[in-house]
Symmetry: none
Subunit: 419 residues, 2 copies
Amino acid sequence: MRINAKVISIGDELLIGQIINSNSSFIAEKLYSAGIPVKRIVTIGDTEKELLDELTDSLKNFNVTVITGGLGPTHDDITKPVLMKFFKDKPVLNKKVLNKVKSLFKSRNQVMPEVNTGQAMIPSKSEVIWNDNGTAPGIWINNNNKIFIALPGVPYEMKPMITEIVLPKLSNLFKNKNEYTFLSKTILTTGISESDLYEKLGDINEIIGKHKLAFLPSAELVKLRIDVTAKSKKEALLSYKKIEKKILDKAGNFVFGYEDDKLEKVLGELLKKKKKTLAVAESCTGGLISAKIVDIPGSSDYFLGGVCAYANDAKKKLLDVKNNSLKKFGAVSEQVAIEMAEGVRKKFKSDYAISTTGIAGPTGGSKVKPVGLVYIGFSDKNKSYALKFNLGDTRMKVITRATISALNLLRKEVLKNNS
Amino acid sequence: MRINAKVISIGDELLIGQIINSNSSFIAEKLYSAGIPVKRIVTIGDTEKELLDELTDSLKNFNVTVITGGLGPTHDDITKPVLMKFFKDKPVLNKKVLNKVKSLFKSRNQVMPEVNTGQAMIPSKSEVIWNDNGTAPGIWINNNNKIFIALPGVPYEMKPMITEIVLPKLSNLFKNKNEYTFLSKTILTTGISESDLYEKLGDINEIIGKHKLAFLPSAELVKLRIDVTAKSKKEALLSYKKIEKKILDKAGNFVFGYEDDKLEKVLGELLKKKKKTLAVAESCTGGLISAKIVDIPGSSDYFLGGVCAYANDAKKKLLDVKNNSLKKFGAVSEQVAIEMAEGVRKKFKSDYAISTTGIAGPTGGSKVKPVGLVYIGFSDKNKSYALKFNLGDTRMKVITRATISALNLLRKEVLKNNS
């Protein structure tokens, strides 16, 4: 038996192109890696008839149906009523959910609006999928081993519900029913382009054999996704390990992590392990390096802070960049990047410092200093230097790539340091 | 007659979540604005049966069907063969297309591989949609005024084919046949939850009548999308204006912009107009306020920079926060938020300053100062103050909401100020 799945996204905002449907990609990816390939993704509006039609199709053709959207408290949220109509079910009040919604409002010093009571009304033949990040609980209906799952459409609510509750439940349910094991692993690289990485790896068939390798480039990194199909978990893992080793042998230098690792998290763990502290001085990245570092829980252990010195005056006053350097070399220069890194390290008394100064565009570029030119500075107690980068032609690309390049430069320095 | 459309995306890479389907959003948006609303978006794999089923459904239920993907030269490109099977049609060689494909290879100093000849084979009952950016031509089939359009899946090939060829052809064909005009507008609110906004607006039917209103919440804001259907453009605009006025009357305080406006852009335009400058002092938001401001091109006109004072020492040294205040009230306090805002304003000599200090979690919370507690400070030459917020229970939410709340507080202050 080969288990399959369908994803239904509900929402007029998807049909008029206002929102790109990234939810269904996320769900498809997660289900696929759990051995439950999605064979169909459908987007429909907030209308009863279309959802009923889709549910009929699901009952006939799919083992698992995941519905996102339409679970909110307002009039255009149709998922629960339509599910109840389809399964001839009635709503019952779930007190645990009601208390949770109430306490969520209370923690925000608000009284729960009456309309939210409806969110605690759950189809009697369903289980609740707990939502830790919002007021709309998810719904799990098992109809003779045909599974219907309804989740909120807000990505940060839906995603943990999938990974933490839905996937384990599904795996448990379909255990031993699937004759193939799928294993999907991702290796993360940065500091190298897709085509350079492709060349570096050489003969792809020699690396992957009958399995699959996909290059997934974005502005900041290139992911390598390896899809292994095998008769058993053990065999799949063994095949993956062989492939991983070949990739690391050829391009290990550019690999910084796996799966959903973030560069700033990998870096943070390194700093924590080595008991080192960090400060940053940003110009063209405008605070994004610091924001990314602070995104990681526990970053206060190693991150002391930063200065976003956007104006020249700020570079001088807050980072002790020399007036003479600004005049002689300009704000976007190797010398100023070095002085920014040194300045911020001394101000914050940190072990390491990084800095950025560059031209993010769209204006401000010249023949000598075009849009995309960025200097990234580094400083520790032993040395200070800056590297020159050309990072692209749009503001978004320049800022994102400068941020990643600075974090990666620091990661390599911390790795080298054994003191 | 009410014209409607369906979009079919073909490709296994979409079903395993490797690629996010932004093509269908693009097509949906363009068709919607041309008065041909998409009512269904389907993603299927590279299999004949599923595409045949979808074509059958299209012929029955939709005026226009746009298919993307599956037009390449290899074995898994099924769109053309399946279309021919469905319409009982045969391929004919289109010499113009063949010459074009050949010359494209020639311009890259390559000889055309034999397999690409197939791309010049076109269903006899179809028209070619010219592809200026690749080797796969598009297909236009008019079957008794049911239109089937097949386009390549590569976005930069597909997009100009839609805007330059498909839309004009469709508009021409359905001219005078569509008795309705559609108008979709979005009003952006912040600082209020979805359910509070819902309650504030009161009787929705009284506001929108026969039109549609959708609530689109995210961590940082709630969008209100208004969909108006009317007999003429003028009537649609009039109806929208009436609805907008009712919404502004009831919740105008929370409205900061329209359509794709960003709060940081709206704020930037205000500051630019009033010729005022800004500096920020961030603790719990870790640089995100500053990063958002710098995201906007031209922000150097009003943004001087910021300090991310994550450690207490940095608050003292870089922002002149008093040691006594830190000791007496703690880093997360009204007093420290005020001193941070005042300190950064004086350091940068800016007109305005905002500051954040709070507990983003997951650790560091206590009974008195729980995770989610954030003080947002404001300072200009006339006054300084800080407000207390409770912004949620996850790190991501606290940081995002604190950022938005600070930007919104500043926006309101700048609006008030007439100096």
